[in-house]
């Protein structure tokens, strides 16, 4: 019977209004919707959804708490597994993780797990309740986490709960990594990230900002400061810039620069905030991932008259989340699929004026499993545009790894680890995008959790040995 109830649809800011502001697009469930949605859950004896979650949140349990009207119990039960539920409820690709495994999805729509997770987290925030998991007594063993993105925050929280004295070193002046510089306000309000980081501080985690490890302090310096283990979670922050004529014209910028200026530096509030941003009339974004969509939607909100997204494959191959694609489409972003840019053309002032493209068609699948795009002869055409944003992916940033020459890297500069985040150096562990290349927030969190466990094992063993040495 329960399966017959329709999946509750989250209310949204309507497209005409939302393209004029940076406020959040999905507005969240109200109490009634949350109850209705929760009542659809079959409470499976062997829930598949839990396996679909990279940090194995006990999903049926928190849904049951909602039904029982015990929202506090619900949020506490999530936080046993996931310290950042307000973030995950918003940006996790649930459709390919927990919700994909939901039994209801076989015949109809799966439970809206992400929306319910967000509902509980928002309830906690609105009621200023800080559900804080219990901590072990402090053991005064110092651990350094490098990078305050999702992997680092999770690892730090887990270790703090185990009693370790954790310090996170962050290059920027704010914590959150990609959550603050990459994902825009309308998809993830920055107050929420701030709030989740406050939870970490309640656990006793220290955050040291403006510290680029590898420059101001080396791992060696940190060892001298009596840090005993290191978790490297510096992300994959360097933009991939494909060589194309015209790349250095004014009006061509990376999505990293465009989004960092807007999100972290708040250029959308210029001149109230000092950081400027170029706003074009017709802005073109190259790429098909979430970062490309974020850039396009930011461009629209900044006041571009028209925003075009150019992607060399077709709609189906887009790596972006479907939900975000639909949002972007509703907002009026123009999509040019099967189109590959080949040259950026400028005017006499050195500003972008046109983008030369070629039409593509799909051939047999390549190593990524997606059908390979190939150019169609004599199909070149021009897009009139004054801004070109490159959202073609990222790669590893070598600033830190270069300062640890003995650390084993892959040929692309990512850190080589086992499945738990162990590197070839016994006190150094790593996780998140600096190991996997760019992936999702939740998978980074999953790697932070795994590494937390092995760091604990490593330190316990080390200290046991020290105790043995002294007492025997």
């Amino acid at each position: 019977m329960s399966a017959k109830k329709p999946r509750q649809k989250m209310p949204e800011q309507n497209p005409i209004d939302r393209i004029t502001n940076f406020k959040e697009v999905p507005l969240g469930f109200n109490d009634e919707m949350a109850k209705l949605e929760a009542s659809r859950c079959l409470q499976c004896a062997e829930p598949k959804c839990v396996n679909g979650c990279p940090v194995n949140v006990d999903i049926p349990r928190f849904i049951k708490f909602i039904l029982e009207n015990n929202l506090r119990g619900g949020i506490e039960s999530i936080k046993e597994f996931n310290i950042l539920p307000a973030i995950c409820g918003r940006v996790c690709p649930q459709e390919v993780q927990c919700e994909k495994e939901c039994v209801l999805g076989k015949k109809g729509d799966p439970i809206a797990i992400g929306a319910l997770e967000r509902y509980l987290a928002d309830w906690e925030y609105q009621h200023q309740i800080k559900a804080c998991p219990d901590c072990q007594p402090p053991n005064y063993i110092k651990v350094a986490v490098i990078g305050a993105g999702p992997a680092g925050l999770t690892c730090a929280a887990d270790l703090a709960k185990m009693g370790y004295a954790v310090t996170i070193f962050e290059a920027f002046h704010k914590g959150g990594g990609v959550l603050v510089y990459g994902i825009p306000e309308f998809r993830l309000p920055k107050d929420i990230v701030k709030e989740e980081i406050e939870t970490l501080k309640m656990l006793g985690v220290k955050i040291s900002y403006n510290k680029i490890i590898g420059k101001i302090l080396l791992i060696e310096d940190l060892r001298e400061m009596s840090f005993e283990a290191f978790f490297i979670s510096v992300g994959a922050g360097l933009p991939l810039i494909h060589k194309m004529p015209g790349l250095n014209l004014n009006g061509v910028l990376t999505a990293n620069e465009f989004l960092t200026r807007t999100n972290l530096m708040k250029a959308y509030q210029f001149p109230e905030y000092d950081t400027p941003i170029q706003i074009g009339k017709i802005m073109t974004v190259i790429g098909g991932g979430n970062v490309a969509l974020d850039s396009a939607r930011v461009a629209l909100r900044l006041g571009a008259e028209k925003v075009i997204l150019v992607y060399r494959r077709s709609e189906i191959e887009m790596p972006a989340r479907r939900e975000e694609y639909l949002h972007a489409k509703a907002e009026g972003i123009e999509f040019q699929f099967l189109t590959n840019p080949i040259k950026i053309i400028g005017n006499e002032n050195g500003d972008v004026s046109k983008l030369k493209c070629i039409k593509m068609e799909l051939a047999e699948p390549d190593e990524s499993g997606r059908r390979r795009p190939i150019p169609i002869n004599n199909s070149e055409f021009y897009i009139e545009t004054d801004t070109v944003i490159l959202a073609l992916g990222t790669r590893a940033n070598p600033v830190l790894t270069k300062s640890i020459p003995e650390l084993k890297l892959t040929k692309y500069g990512y850190i080589e680890t086992d499945e738990n985040g162990k590197t070839n150096i016994k006190d150094i562990f790593a996780g998140g995008d600096i190991v996997t290349g760019s992936a999702t927030v939740i998978s980074a969190m999953g790697s932070g959790r795994k590494a937390g466990k092995v760091i604990d094992e490593y330190l316990k063993l080390k200290h046991k040995k020290i105790i043995r040495y002294f007492f025997h």
Binding site: H173, L238, K243, N248, P271, P276
Partner: protein, 291 residues
């Protein structure tokens, strides 16, 4: 943890050049010639780069020198001793290669770049190089650190565009004279893009003078300073895309496309003006309120 201003003074007689000493113990420990920092004045501020013009690990301080050009530098110039700058990140960029070279080295500093030239001269001199320093400014009121540089250089040559002090004209005039009859190991040029471009044109071996290895110090627009934003990218004549923040700031001047860089340097000019005018207006209002 904000960063305290330990000392501040006006440089030269123009009223637009400032020297500031900042309390930054960790940065001071690692700082070396060639390094720079990124600053953010306050919560609403932008991140902007400045060269570390001096450093003292024991005192735990670094020195910056800046000229008031826009809102952020104007605001910084109004901060008082004892006040704090919200964010200082560094040391960023690569340090210079300080080795003993066979022939003399020419270090050229133009405008506010005179300050950046100072630590380079000092470090190169410290390990036994012969260093000829050339400094240049529009007019004598914009000159500074002349005595400081005289003390550490084997020879100091001063040029001003208007001839109000030293040789009249550009830094390239004495440079040409030296290169005519002296073999030098390399030239370092730090200053406005147009000056560095002219230095490179002098040493590229295409005129009457021989080719000389030349480093230029790029001070481009940047956001993060770690290679993330790509805003500081510059094309090289070898077809590579380099980043001033992580591949520089000192780079091989002969591969830099200066014309492109000059255009790129102006890409936020109109917004910068809005910001500066707005700040000027706010300052005036504040002053009026005080009266």
């Amino acid at each position: 943890m904000p960063f305290k201003i330990i000392n501040k003074k006006l440089l030269g007689k123009s009223g637009t050049l400032f020297e500031m000493v900042l309390e930054t113990p960790l940065i001071a420990k690692k700082a070396f010639a060639g390094h720079f920092i990124l600053l953010r004045n306050d919560e609403k501020g932008e991140r902007f780069p400045l060269t570390i013009a001096d450093y003292d690990a024991e005192e735990g301080t670094i020195t910056i020198v800046f000229q008031v050009v826009g809102k952020s530098t104007k605001q910084l110039s109004r901060m008082k001793i004892g006040e704090k700058i919200l964010d200082v990140v560094g040391p960023l960029g690569n340090k210079i290669h300080s080795e003993k070279y066979e022939h003399p080295i020419i270090v050229i500093g133009g405008g506010v770049g005179i300050a950046s030239a100072y630590p380079q001269v000092r470090e190169l001199k410290k390990i036994g190089n012969e260093v000829i320093t050339i400094i240049g400014a529009r007019t004598k009121d914009l000159l500074f650190w002349v005595e400081k540089l005289m003390l550490i250089s084997d020879k100091l040559i001063i040029t001003t565009n208007d001839g109000s002090e030293g040789i009249k004209g550009f830094v390239t005039n004495p440079l040409k004279e030296i290169l005519k009859d002296k073999k030098v190991s390399f030239v370092i040029a730090i200053g406005p893009l147009i000056m560095m471009k002219n230095v490179v044109l002098t040493t590229n071996g295409e005129g009457e003078l021989p080719w000389v290895k030349t480093y230029v110090s790029l001070n481009t627009i940047m956001v993060d300073g770690t290679g993330m934003c790509g805003g500081c990218r510059f094309p090289t004549k070898l077809g590579e895309i380099n980043f001033a923040c992580v591949d520089g700031p000192d780079v091989d001047g002969h591969v830099v496309d200066f014309d492109n860089l000059m255009k790129r340097a102006n890409r936020y000019t109109s917004q910068e003006k809005i910001s500066a005018d707005r700040y000027e207006h706010q300052c005036k209002c504040e002053n009026r309120l005080k009266e």
